[in-house]
């Protein structure tokens, strides 16, 4: 049976991550970072990798990892979402899932040791059930093509590039690799457009194995993102509650007005449910359950919109201050809305569920049977 709770080890991990983020990633620092040219907080990322070993959590012990798993990865993501931390952990987790599927010992070891950052070179908006447009391969082998909207690419060392005949590892520092930064909705998870102009690659998986590696990695991304969304939504709820308890208008706390209370009560219900859904997805992913794609689709059909509503309520219920650059609410709103598109929108995931649980769409008009008396009258 799916385990929807948090184990003692997971709670201990949460405490460590939260303590580190409280000390090193207050939102004021993240906000100030938006004005720098550095998209990520490199110092923070080093602390997470070196002190807590986050990149090795899901890597088996024989490859130098912690041998924990994706339930633990999900707990880290909850905390990173809560802090809207500008670190490339989600991309690292997705790439790790792809490497596990390929069984590439060399790169898994380097990832676990925190020596090399690996990123799956597909657009952030790619849904698990879509095949990314493959990059062309020429003898060498060298890769030629473009991939747009890749997240977590700018600080990475190795790109995992889906190409026509397999999945290739490409040195991100090669002269033939160009990464053009994009002005992204979510500046704490910036995107880049990749241009591969004959970049040398090493094939890490071929044919169906490569296709499968990409698909399980995207499924993991969709499922894990839900935990980040739960953490984000919980921060928005907590912060809003704190505000409406103390902010007074018309001679009483704003939080004593029923319209405010009921909106927050509904949000709490949704977050309570989103947590169960996200835990379910993390558990399915961790145990390699055959219904992992279903759990991931459910997670993004439900949790993405909940995070957006939480962030929107946070802006709204803070009143004017929620609309300012100085208040962190916009960091959460941008992360939430970007997350609602990442790995496929809720609508795409509902369509995936329609296939997975046999709730087919109506037959197109004219395909027979929709109105014709021959059928409907038996």
């Amino acid at each position: 049976m799916t385990d929807l709770l948090y184990g003692a080890d997971e709670e201990a991990l949460r405490d460590s991550v939260r303590a580190l983020l409280v000390a090193h990633a207050p939102w004021q620092r993240t906000l100030a970072g938006l004005d720098d040219d550095e998209p990520y907080d490199a110092a923070l990322w080093r602390l997470l990798v070196d002190q807590l070993g986050v990149t090795g959590l899901a890597v088996p012990v024989e490859h130098g990892g912690a041998g924990a798993g994706f339930r633990e990865v999900a707990v880290v993501l909850e905390e990173l979402g809560r802090a809207v931390a500008p670190v490339p952990f989600l991309g690292a987790a997705v790439a790790t899932r792809a490497l596990l599927a390929c069984g590439d010992a060399e790169l898994l070891g380097a990832v676990a040791a925190g020596e090399r950052a690996v990123v799956l070179a597909v657009g952030l908006a790619t849904a698990p059930d879509t095949r990314p447009e493959p990059v062309a391969v020429e003898p060498g082998p060298v890769l030629r093509g473009t991939v747009t909207g890749v997240a977590d690419a700018l600080p990475c060392d190795v790109l995992l590039v889906p190409a026509a005949d397999g999945l290739y590892a490409v040195d991100a520092a090669a002269a033939a690799v160009r990464m053009n930064p994009v002005v992204s909705l979510d500046a704490t998870r910036p995107l880049a457009d990749l241009v591969l102009a004959g970049a040398p690659g090493r094939r890490v998986a071929t044919g169906p194995a490569a296709t499968r590696a990409v698909s399980v990695a995207l499924t993991a991304g969709a499922g894990l993102l839900a935990s980040e969304q739960v953490g984000l939504a919980q921060w928005c709820l907590d912060t809003t509650i704190e505000h409406v308890r103390t902010r007074r208008q018309f001679g009483r706390p704003v939080g004593s007005f029923q319209a405010v209370k009921h909106r927050l009560a509904d949000l709490w219900v949704e977050i309570t449910e989103a947590r169960a859904v996200a835990r379910h997805a993390a558990d399915r992913l961790a145990t390699g359950h055959p219904e992992t794609p279903l759990a991931a689709a459910l997670a993004q059909a439900y949790c993405g919109p909940v995070a957006v509503r939480a962030a929107e309520a946070c802006v709204q219920l803070h009143g004017g201050i929620g609309f300012t650059w100085e208040h962190p609410a916009h960091l959460y709103l941008k992360r939430a809305k970007s997350g609602a598109v990442a790995f496929g929108t809720a609508d795409r995931h509902r369509a995936a569920l329609a296939r997975l649980v046999d709730l087919a769409a109506p037959a197109p008009a004219g395909a027979g049977g929709s109105i014709g008396p021959a059928r409907s009258n038996r």
Binding site: F257, K261, L264, A274, R279, R350, G369
Partner: protein
């Protein structure tokens, strides 16, 4: 005292079954099971239990079911088992527990709940039924409403005002009322589905012995909170498989009748399926929390969600059926023990689901309770205390 483990409890059940025939006299078997402490294992010895962790109850129930033993018809007795029993165990005297708990558990005596009144529904503490002390008895006068099982119950948990002079939450006392006592009159209350699950209960000069008072005079509201908390858990906490509730009826209809499908309803069906699955997993997580001994306030979320979902899904089903959805099965006055949500027509489900957001606390009140007790938001200004 030996430690309680699943193996040990399975051993106790096996031992019990060696000396008691599960196919013999039903009531006798259940009484003996109660006396052996295998009724609700988390209760103390002498009150049907062994003081074991509550999650072992499922082990015991499964072992008895496997042996083909009779159960105590829990669905027929949900108020007694789910609300009266936990309240009595926590607040009643030893003698009261000895008198009431065993026949309650065996189902020989059914219970009902005399709380709500015509003018005290969600604002329950404004109730006006009076209890006046007269020697060793209290004399009760008033009217109660929405009383499930009143026409079959032997006992009722009763809230009555014993001191009209103090603030409304403070002058209430908690009693156990004998439903066969003179002056208790039960009338069916027919509802919009045509049937009558509930009753009106008129109390005219009903004598309740002081020995049937639970807790101190004037402390009834505190005790009622135990009952109400258990009510919400009981409403929302049933385990369901995927598509186990109304959404399963809708999904099967969608699969079996492709000619009814339209694009807009497809979208609605998928959204409802997702929400139903989220609510189901949330209820599952609540049960895992309870089993781990860390129950949170999630019961309120589950209650609120299922009410909204049942209403939305049953409404969709009527529309999906179109012309067929306009045909009802029967408006006959019936007296069901519980609503037949999965057995009857879509129209019945649609109509009965209107009650889901009213019974056991309206959704509006529940949102206020969540906001104030779970989220810690300040109370709205009140003029009644």
């Amino acid at each position: 005292m030996p430690e309680h483990t699943a193996d040990r409890l399975r051993g106790l059940v096996a031992e019990f079954l060696r000396t008691h025939d599960p196919r013999g006299d039903r009531a006798g078997f259940l009484r003996a099971r109660f006396d052996a402490g295998l009724a609700w294992v988390h209760h103390p010895p002498g009150h049907g239990g062994l003081g074991a962790p509550p999650q072992l109850q499922a082990v015991v129930d499964a072992a008895f079911a496997e042996a083909g033993a009779p159960d105590n018809r829990p669905r027929r007795n949900s108020i007694g088992l789910g609300m009266a029993a936990p309240t009595l165990l926590r607040h009643a005297t030893e003698a009261q527990c000895r008198r009431w708990l065993r026949p309650l558990w065996t189902g020989e005596e059914l219970w009902c709940q005399l709380f709500s009144e015509p003018e005290a529904g969600s604002d329950l503490a404004s109730l006006r039924t009076r209890a006046v002390r007269d020697g060793a008895d209290w004399v009760v006068d008033g009217q109660k409403v929405w009383t499930s099982m009143a026409h079959e119950a032997r006992w009722a948990i009763l809230l009555a005002r014993t001191d009209p002079a103090v603030a409304k939450h403070r002058g209430i006392t908690y009693f156990v009322c004998d439903m066969t006592a003179p002056g208790v009159q039960v009338r069916p209350l027919r509802q919009l589905t045509g049937e009558a699950e509930f009753n009106e209960v008129f109390l005219t000069g009903v004598r309740v012995p002081d020995a049937h008072r639970v807790g101190a005079v004037g402390e009834g509201w505190q005790i009622a909170r135990t009952t109400l908390m258990n009510e919400r858990v009981a409403i929302g906490g049933r385990p369901l498989p995927r598509e186990g509730g109304m959404v399963g009826v809708l999904a099967r209809l969608w699969r079996e009748r492709p000619e009814l499908r339209t694009a807009g309803l497809h979208e609605e069906v998928l959204r409802s399926w997702v929400r139903a699955e989220a609510a189901r997993l949330s209820a599952l997580r609540l049960r895992q929390l309870v089993a781990a001994g860390a129950p949170g306030p999630e019961g309120s979320a589950v209650k609120l969600s299922f009410a909204e979902l049942n209403q939305r899904i049953s409404g969709l089903e009527v529309e999906l059926l179109g012309a067929e959805g306009l045909r009802h099965d029967d408006w006959a006055m019936r007296r069901p023990v519980e609503p037949d949500l999965l057995g009857r027509t879509a129209t019945y489900r649609y109509l009965r689901a209107r009650g889901n957001s009213i019974e056991g606390g309206t959704s509006e009140i529940l949102r206020t309770v969540i906001a104030e007790r779970v989220l810690g938001l300040p109370a709205e200004p009140r003029v009644d205390r």
